[in-house]
């Protein structure tokens, strides 16, 4: 049997794959956080709750309406994104002139309300969402077994991340977004409806989280607390990558997933803390983050 530093190749690759999958979720979520932070300057503490709502909406849609996975993947982000736009329009905008800390507190409160309400109705134990038929089974690659659904998650996450990067870096709408991030007052003086842009941006960031939630539903138990536990890691990822760049958020997300996977292979005891260790090191050496602009 092939060994990599004393670990069987299949085990090594299997953990790497798991790490990449986690990394794909880190990437999707930190990407949304970065987009929102860019324009609104708010650290969106409701992001985990939106991810959780995405998974729940898919589950409830299936159970009550028979909404299939593919439709859920399309409709749930729109639905949750719409909810996000309402939150921005009627709550965040009211306090946008205050210190951004208030926005953070408000989104934190909303996250706790969403989580608490769902715990009240569904408990914390979590339910499973069936893997869609077309994506069941897997390939034997010789050196490892690759479940199709995991490969799909990786592919879908990468496509969405690259699509987002393309919109922001290569389109006119993206130019509005980047410019609005730098100087929104001047954008208004050019005739751009910045408040509308802010609403759309928040909705889009939240829709990314909901999309991740639907992707996650067949992989992890769907429970009201699934978002809050993930979000803490994602915040660490964001600190490591820095709020500066879209591509930075994606690469850091994937990279930290891999680091976690590798740690699971060689020193499983540290697997849950290694990202926070990296975060502390990055803060000490390069506080703006790996891809952030130094102040």
């Amino acid at each position: 049997m092939t060994m990599i530093f004393g670990v069987p190749l299949a085990v090594f690759m299997g953990q790497l794959m798991l790490g990449l999958i986690n990394g794909a979720f880190y990437a999707l979520l930190s990407l949304g956080l970065a987009v929102i932070f860019g324009l609104l300057k708010i650290v969106n503490f409701a992001h985990g709750a939106m991810y959780m709502l995405g998974a729940f909406a898919a589950l409830l849609g299936l159970q009550t309406l028979g909404l299939n996975y593919w439709l859920a993947l399309l409709l749930v982000p729109l639905l949750v994104g719409g909810l996000g736009m309402l939150i921005e329009r009627y709550m965040l905008r009211r306090i946008a002139h205050l210190d951004h800390l208030y926005g953070l507190l408000l989104t934190f409160g909303l996250a706790l309300i969403a989580e608490g309400t769902l715990i009240n109705f569904f408990g914390v134990s979590g339910s499973s969402y069936p893997t869609p038929t077309a994506l069941q089974g897997g390939y034997n690659l010789g050196f490892m077994f690759l479940p199709i659904y995991r490969a799909w998650v990786l592919l879908a996450a990468l496509v969405v991340c690259l699509g987002t990067w393309f919109i922001i870096e290569r389109t006119r709408l993206g130019a509005y977004l980047r410019a609005g991030t730098e100087n929104s007052a001047l954008m208004q003086a050019f005739g751009v409806n910045v408040p509308q842009l802010v609403t759309l941006t928040y909705g889009f960031g939240v829709a990314l989280a909901a999309f991740a939630g639907v992707l996650a539903a067949p992989l992890y138990p769907v429970s009201p607390t699934m978002g809050s536990s993930l979000l803490i890691v994602v915040f660490a990822v964001v600190v490591i990558g820095g709020m500066g760049s879209i591509l930075g958020a994606v690469l850091t997300g994937l990279g930290m997933g891999l680091v976690e996977g590798l740690t699971k292979v060689y020193y499983p005891e540290a697997a849950n803390t290694v990202i926070f260790l990296v975060m502390v090191l990055v803060l000490l050496v390069r506080p703006a983050g790996l891809f952030g602009k130094e102040a």
């Binding site: 130019a175 509005y176 007052a185 001047l186 208004q188 005739g191 751009v192 409806n193």
Partner: protein, 248 residues
């Protein structure tokens, strides 16, 4: 995004019709009261200057017209539309281009993206080819990051990008500040061309020698008020008086 047409009252493009009328304008940044009843008006096709010492309130006047200050009272009529109650993003859609004192070139955009950024507010703006013909340096550097340009090139870019939008009233804040004499001269030539195209221009300037030959009228500001109006014809005879007002 472009709803210019619906808010625009289309006045006939007659020379001499009123483009901008400011009456008893008061403006505040938070608690600080900066403008204390500014009154002036600008006719279509005119180039006027706002002169004054540092802190007189010239930049604030332009920002107040764009609704970029805290609170405003009084009246600002642009092209026949009262704009005091208008949202900031509606005002440029009346056909106004604003060039801020700090230039406002975006670092996250390259030169061409900066140039293409402001949405069209009216038809009849300059084409991108016309603009590159007027500012050949910008064409050469179109793929550079906006803030990598020299000060002079950034100023050209800040001007060029509002010419594309079809704006007919330009508010230009200290466009010659800190620039080399050759560039100042080039900017002067640009202003002459814009005037020939029928643009109405409000020019905030420190460099009086630059402004004097271009302007039809000069307004002198002090402590947030207009204290003097001097027509181009009176300039020679009132030069000493003006120098006293400006403290030069």
């Amino acid at each position: 995004m472009n709803q210019a047409a619906e808010t625009l009252t289309d006045y006939p493009d007659l020379e001499g019709a009123e483009m901008l009328r400011v009456r008893n304008l008061n403006a505040f940044y938070g608690e600080s009261h900066i403008l204390h009843g500014v009154d002036f008006d600008v006719k279509r096709g005119e180039l006027v200057t706002l002169l004054g010492r540092n802190g007189a309130g010239r930049s604030t006047t332009l920002k107040a017209i764009m609704n970029m200050v805290g609170r405003r009272t009084g009246s600002i009529v642009i092209n026949g539309n009262e704009t005091l109650g208008m949202k900031p993003h509606r005002i440029p859609r009346l056909g106004i281009g604003y060039c801020p004192e700090e230039r406002g070139i975006f670092a996250s955009l390259d030169v061409e993206e900066n140039l293409l950024l402001p949405p069209t507010v009216r038809s009849g703006g300059m084409s991108i080819d016309d603009i590159y013909a007027m500012f050949p340096h910008l064409y050469e550097r179109r793929r550079s990051q906006g803030t990598r340009l020299s000060g002079g090139e950034q100023q050209m870019l800040a001007m060029a990008r509002i010419l594309r939008t079809g704006a007919r009233l330009l508010l230009l804040d200290e466009i010659t500040e800190g620039l080399a004499p050759v560039i100042v001269q080039a900017l002067g030539e640009v202003l002459v061309k814009l005037k020939a195209r029928g643009m109405t221009i409000v020019l905030v300037e420190q460099n009086f020698r630059f402004a004097a030959p271009l302007a039809d009228r000069h307004f002198v500001m002090e402590h947030g008020r207009i204290i003097e109006e001097i027509g181009a014809a009176e300039l020679a005879s009132r030069r000493d008086h003006l120098n006293t007002l400006l403290g030069v």
